[in-house]
């Protein structure tokens, strides 16, 4: 049925878009599969089980946020039906679930599927089917390729752009640094390391020691000891929360005091710094784009108040200290914004078009000054971060909001 409808449908959609852009007031109701007068079906794939199940919280937060939108009347009168499946962080399962969502549940789009391997596995399929794969939950750099993959878009700053920001900082503040790097041996760690070296450019020799670890290792102590022995005075920790906390502790234990930088992934006060001990974490540097729920400085912030009210009312199980909850809220809010911008023209074409024309949009949970901007040639919504230093029991932001855009 889909293939029979396709041609005339696409033609109509194209004319409508052309029409709407000149005389938006006359926009007619236009739908693709997955949208009707009363409902918008959104698909999602999350690792509710398996090695990355900690991230399943994101899916739950998103479901709660869409419930809130529905309770408040929906988007232009349409209710959101959020269909979220488990892939257990396995690429073959992700393909199966994506096909189920598109072909059986007939969703309008797949929103925020999590994990670089899972998203890589479904990218080709989604683009061949011309179904939006919107705001994917991974920091890999490869989601910003609008020419090759016009139906895929990222959301958070890429690992490479974050690494760039640290490189810029080091080149400016500590040009004679001897950098040691501890990284996770997967797509996250490797992408990050590449970003760092690319940004250092001719000065890449500043990196004097590298150690990689596997997530299956119980502890990373011996890697840290080796890195200390290299004589480095900067320690860049490209680690996930558990290992970041271990590294902070170990550094204190062996009394090594280099300039310590922790990747944003592990900058959470609740899940990393506090377990590692505040006294061990003084002076650590990182960068952020979102507010930290554990940080008291945001208690009176208007955006965070909205976030906390949402948690109370719609997601009582959600832990405000968990960075994934803050993340899920922000990305769901962006999705709702795009659907609002679509108005009555809920075609897949138009969804991508609107997603690619976000201008200075600020979800409640982003740092002041960080804005979401996209264009037909820029599919990287968040590209700004701000450096921060840990002092007392919280992060202190310093310096300007820095853009990690790869074109720089």
């Amino acid at each position: 049925m889909h293939s029979r409808l396709n041609l005339p449908f696409a033609a109509v959609a194209a004319t409508v878009i052309a029409f709407a852009s000149t005389t938006s007031a006359l926009a007619q109701k236009k739908y693709d599969t997955g949208a009707t007068d009363s409902e918008i079906r959104i698909g999602n794939i999350m690792p509710y089980s398996g090695p990355a199940s900690a991230y399943g919280v994101i899916g739950k937060t998103e479901a709660a946020y869409f419930n809130k939108i529905n309770a408040e009347g929906g988007i232009n009168g349409r209710k959101i039906k959020f269909i979220s499946y488990d892939d257990g962080y396995s690429p073959p399962k992700a393909v199966e679930q994506a096909r189920k969502l598109v072909e059986s549940d007939e969703v309008l789009l797949i929103f925020n599927p999590l994990g670089t391997p899972s998203n890589s596995a479904i990218q080709k399929y989604m683009n061949a089917k011309k179904v939006p794969q919107l705001f994917v939950a991974t920091g890999a750099t490869k989601w910003n390729e609008p020419k090759e993959f016009p139906w895929t878009m990222g959301w958070q700053p890429s690992y490479q752009s974050e690494a760039r920001i640290y490189a810029k900082y080091l080149l400016k503040e500590k040009p004679d640094a001897k950098i040691s790097v501890l990284y996770q041996n997967d797509d996250f760690g490797k992408d990050y390391l590449k970003g760092l070296k690319d940004a250092l450019g001719a000065r890449a020799s500043m990196v004097i020691a590298e150690e990689s670890y596997e997530t299956s290792e119980p502890t990373i102590d011996n890697h840290v000891v080796k890195l200390k022995a290299s004589g480095a005075d900067v320690f860049l920790s490209i680690t996930t929360p558990k290992f970041a906390a271990q590294a902070i502790k170990k550094l204190a234990e062996i009394e090594w005091k280099p300039l310590h930088i922790v990747s944003n992934v592990s900058a959470s006060v609740g899940s990393v710094i506090k377990p590692a001990g505040f006294e061990n974490a003084q002076g650590i540097l990182s960068a952020a784009y979102a507010k930290d729920g554990a940080d008291a400085q945001w208690d009176d912030d208007a955006g965070m108040k909205k976030f906390l009210t949402f948690l109370q009312k719609y997601d009582p199980d959600g832990n405000k200290l968990d960075g994934s909850v803050v993340y899920g809220y922000g990305v769901a809010q962006t999705m709702v914004k795009v659907l609002e911008m679509c108005g009555d023209n809920l075609t897949r074409d138009n969804v991508m078009k609107q997603a690619a024309s976000l201008k200075d949009f600020v979800p409640d949970t982003l740092l002041p000054g960080v804005k979401i901007n996209t264009s037909p040639t820029d599919f990287a919504p968040i590209e700004q971060l701000q450096m921060m230093r840990f002092k007392g029991e919280k992060w202190e932001l310093f310096g300007d909001i820095i853009s990690g855009e790869l074109s720089n």
């Binding site: 399943g56 739950k60 488990d86 396995s90 690429p91 598109v102 890589s120 596997e214």
Partner: protein, 338 residues
């Protein structure tokens, strides 16, 4: 584990060549075959894709079944052979531009050699020790695939995207349907081969080793050769399944072939009935569809629900689908008599 051992040692004492223990009756076989051939004509592409995966995992479970049910050796390392097969097909297709159909025998051959060689040191181990050695293989594989030296070929942590083949000769069918029938033909060929293998001289040697190694060697069976041969054949079939899986999923990455996959295949074998080849497809259906059902019951507790279902199956029908089939046949027989 005890259920497996029980099933393994519970060899039929009457028939020397237990045909019935291996296969279905002709009538049942033809019915199943007809269902497998006709079903795709009536369902959506997505279901066809699921059915393809059903056959692919079915093949992998069948391979494990030959190893464990046939020769009585354990393996928790099938995911490693599956990965080698998948990567062989993917690399040959994407880097060497080879036709997808040609990559499968190569994947099978490489895995056969790999399995045969792995079988050599494994000879010194038996039972749980062998299980542990193969477990090590499964744990090591995803890391080996990430190695820098071969990253140029494997795509490292990012994996490789595989192009899905179109139906040849301008046949009017979708890619999914073509791939399904292609997989079905290979599955049937391998199934027939396996049944014949187990009924042959080699198969009897496997089973003799399974039942009593000392007695087997006293009868003149070359224990070392046949044990490694069983490993090789099992690995080879798993490799073909891996290659087909890579083509169906269109993507290979280290994360797709973790120890979880090996355990899934093991679960599939036990649920299908150890040593009963037709059970492989039932076991495969179990590992594909039951997680989906579990997720439908509770998202947060999908793992626990899956565990409960698995526990119930093992508790109620410890010999898996084989037991169900036997009971069904028994009941049918009674009906006919009365």
């Amino acid at each position: 584990m005890s259920a497996v051992q029980e099933a393994v040692t519970d060899a039929p004492a009457v028939e020397a060549v237990p045909k019935r223990a291996l296969t279905l009756g002709t009538g049942t076989s033809l019915t199943v075959l007809a269902a497998l051939i006709l079903a795709p004509l009536f369902v959506k592409n997505f279901i066809i894709f699921q059915m393809t995966m059903l056959l692919v995992y079915g093949l992998a479970v069948l391979a494990l079944n030959i190893l464990t049910g046939g020769s009585g050796q354990f393996s928790l390392g099938q995911s490693a052979f599956y990965a080698v097969g998948a990567y062989t097909s993917a690399i040959l297709m994407e880097h060497a531009g080879m036709n997808y159909a040609l990559t499968l025998p190569i994947a099978g051959l490489i895995c056969f050699i790999f399995g045969f060689l792995f079988g050599q040191p494994a000879l010194r181990l038996s039972g749980v020790y062998l299980a542990l050695a193969t477990f090590a293989l499964a744990t090591a594989m995803p890391q080996l695939l990430k190695l820098g030296y071969i990253e140029h070929w494997t795509g490292g942590v990012q994996g490789l995207v595989v192009t899905k083949p179109d139906a040849p000769f301008g046949l009017p069918m979708s890619q999914d349907m073509w791939l399904y029938y292609f997989t079905l033909v290979i599955t049937i060929a391998i199934y027939v081969f396996s049944v014949n293998l187990l009924k042959s001289r080699s198969g009897r040697a496997f089973m003799a080793i399974r039942d009593n190694e000392i007695a087997a060697s006293a009868m003149g069976v070359d224990v070392a050769l046949y044990k490694t041969l069983a490993f090789g054949v099992s690995a080879g079939i798993t490799g073909v399944a891996g290659g087909l899986g890579a083509i169906a999923v269109q993507f290979v990455a280290p994360d797709g072939y973790t120890i979880t996959l090996a355990i899934q295949l093991f679960v599939g074998m036990v649920v299908g009935g150890v040593g009963w080849l037709p059970g492989s497809i039932v076991g495969s259906a179990f590992i594909i569809f039951v997680p989906n059902i579990a997720e439908g019951i509770s998202k947060g507790l999908s793992g626990a629900v899956f565990g409960v279902i698995l526990f119930l199956v093992i508790f109620l029908v410890p010999h898996g689908a084989r037991q169900v089939a036997l009971v069904a046949r028994h009941l049918l027989g009674k009906l006919k008599k009365s």
